[in-house]
């Protein structure tokens, strides 16, 4: 373990996993507030066929090529879900169910084709399903970390606009904020975080990185800014710890350990969260009962 920590390659992988976790927590907060948690799950599953196709076409496992493929198929999936919702009587959740399974099934099918024709160079592609941070080379870590920082900056510099677009898009439009542009940018950020994360976390569990930190942070605060900061912290910690654990043994997948870590944070938040946590609520209820028994003045 100590040997691993002092390897500079691993330090980069760890740093980028933390940055990814932070960016995912922040974008997840937006998805959560737009009630689109499941959308992130659909897009990440839908990224798989893009990865494999990019590999089949280019013939090599270059991360920039693979994540471009992932982004394209993720965006196509998002577009299909929206068009199904708009043009048919099918509701959004059903549309997501259809697209998610069709794209993921297609991805698995393409993977089995790649396994036949790849002649060895395809080995490791299946890591995109559960994710393996340790398999990343330094260049991958650079790309992932840099893009995660870009995502966070884009959210931060326009925080005021994001806030009103998320809370009340009509009011935002009245204020002259280009709501359509922000909606497109949001989809782009969501897809970006997902595709840079799938190598480390895997397409199946990527959605957890977006959703769990975001919902955990709501138990601690009523301020949007703090929600974003806490989601970033929870996401970063989960990303870091998950990567550490999975790298400590050979062939341990990263995604599941990240999810387990963030789920522990969620459980802590659920019970001990100072604003919506169960214990806090119980304490309030108790105080109210006490007060009623005493029959004191209302405060």
């Amino acid at each position: 373990m100590t040997g691993l920590l002092s390897s500079s390659n691993f330090q980069w992988v760890l740093t980028s996993a933390v940055l990814l976790g932070m960016a995912a927590g922040m974008v997840g907060t937006m998805a959560n507030l737009r009630k689109q948690g499941l959308m992130s799950d659909a897009i990440s599953h839908a990224a798989l066929p893009g990865v494999i196709l990019a590999f089949l076409i280019s013939g090599e496992k270059q991360l920039p090529v693979l994540i471009t493929g992932a982004a394209i198929s993720g965006l196509i999936a998002a577009f299909f879900i929206q068009s199904i919702k708009r043009t048919t009587r099918i509701k959004e959740d059903a549309a997501m169910g259809i697209i998610l399974s069709v794209f993921f099934g297609g991805g698995i099918m393409l993977l089995s084709i790649a396994n036949r024709v790849g002649g060895g160079s395809q080995s490791g592609l299946d890591r995109f399903i559960f994710g393996q941070a340790a398999s990343m080379v330094r260049m991958d870590a650079y790309i992932m970390g840099a893009l995660a920082v870009v995502v966070m900056l884009l959210i931060f510099v326009s925080f005021k606009e994001w806030k009103v677009v998320l809370f009340d898009p009509r009011h935002a439009k009245m204020m002259g904020i280009p709501v359509r542009l922000y909606s497109s940018l949001y989809t782009l950020l969501l897809v970006l975080v997902i595709v840079i994360g799938i190598q480390a976390v895997g397409v199946i569990l990527m959605a957890a990185m977006l959703i769990i930190p975001a919902i955990s942070s709501r138990y601690w605060t009523h301020s949007l800014f703090t929600v974003f900061v806490l989601s970033a912290v929870f996401g970063g910690v989960s990303g870091g710890i998950g990567t550490l654990i999975s790298s400590s043994g050979s062939n341990l997948p990263t995604g599941p350990f990240i999810v387990v870590t963030s789920s522990l944070i969620f459980l802590l938040s659920l019970f001990f969260g100072t604003k919506k946590g169960l214990l806090f609520r119980g304490e309030k209820l108790h105080a109210n009962r006490r007060y009623l028994k005493q029959g004191g003045d209302h405060k």
Binding site: K160, K163, F167, R170, M174, M175, R218, H222, S223
Partner: protein, 251 residues
């Protein structure tokens, strides 16, 4: 002077026409009640005027067209249900959002903006709630927060979508006093309103709408039994005035 000119405005949901070639203009300093049955297109009309709902045809001109930055001069108070009140933010923050059009990109609200927001909260008797999480407000308080968010913007033309719906007496009183104050300042306000009994007491102008424009003008000329019968398709009884000289209108 006209602050709003609407010509041939039509709008539809899917294939169903909900607004049929409305043409009217609104004079500066008037307080207009927009009245009509459910589904008459009252909210849709406001949204279409504000560009929040696509229109099929028609043109809309604010302030005779000599104004470029209309988004700061036109305020909108939506129905309370338009947003998720569980959103992580507090009252002062929501009101400050009314200034976002003026603060500009890459800048954040400062002390001055918060001061303006507090003054707007004062006008709607919500100062004590400035730091309250918005999920902990009653319906009437939510309505007053939306009103304060529009007031802080200091617009010249306001649209309000059923501000009196389901609010308590205190909120109703606050809204009326705010409306009076706005008119005294020479501003123009259009309000979607459901309670026919109070129409003649609250508004100096009335716009009767049921997909088409039935009538628009000073209250004593338009709020008449025959126009109302046209608007509500005859399903209305005009019972005259009671002892306190209040109109007795029933649907």
């Amino acid at each position: 002077m006209s602050v709003l000119t609407v010509q041939n405005l039509s709008s539809a949901y899917e294939k169903k026409l909900v607004l049929d070639s409305l043409t009217f203009s609104v004079n500066e300093g008037t307080l207009t009640g927009i009245v009509g049955p459910n589904g008459a297109g009252k909210s849709t009309m406001i949204k279409a005027i504000l560009g929040l709902q696509p229109k099929i045809s028609g043109s809309i001109e604010f302030f005779n067209g000599n104004e470029k930055k209309i988004n700061q001069r036109v305020g909108y108070v939506p129905q309370r249900g338009a947003v998720d009140w569980d959103f992580p933010t507090n009252v002062l923050d929501v009101v400050t959002m009314g200034l976002y059009g003026q603060i500009g990109w890459l800048r954040f609200p400062n002390k001055k903006h918060r001061q303006l927001a507090l003054e707007a909260l004062e006008k709607v008797s919500m100062s004590d709630f400035a730091h309250r999480q918005i999920s902990q407000l009653s319906g009437g308080q939510q309505q007053r927060v939306f009103l304060a968010r529009a007031l802080v913007q200091d617009a010249d033309l306001y649209f309000m979508d059923e501000p009196f719906a389901g609010v308590d007496a205190k909120t109703e009183k606050t809204i009326i006093s705010v409306l009076k104050e706005l008119i005294d300042l020479g501003k123009t306000v259009m309000v979607v309103h459901h309670d026919l009994q109070t129409v003649p007491y609250y508004f100096d102008h009335v716009l009767l709408l049921n997909k088409e424009l039935i009538a628009h003008g000073p209250t004593n000329e338009t709020f008449t039994p025959s126009y109302l019968a046209q608007t509500y398709g005859g399903a209305i009884q005009w019972l005259g005035r009671d002892n306190n000289d209040r109109s007795f209108v029933q649907q």
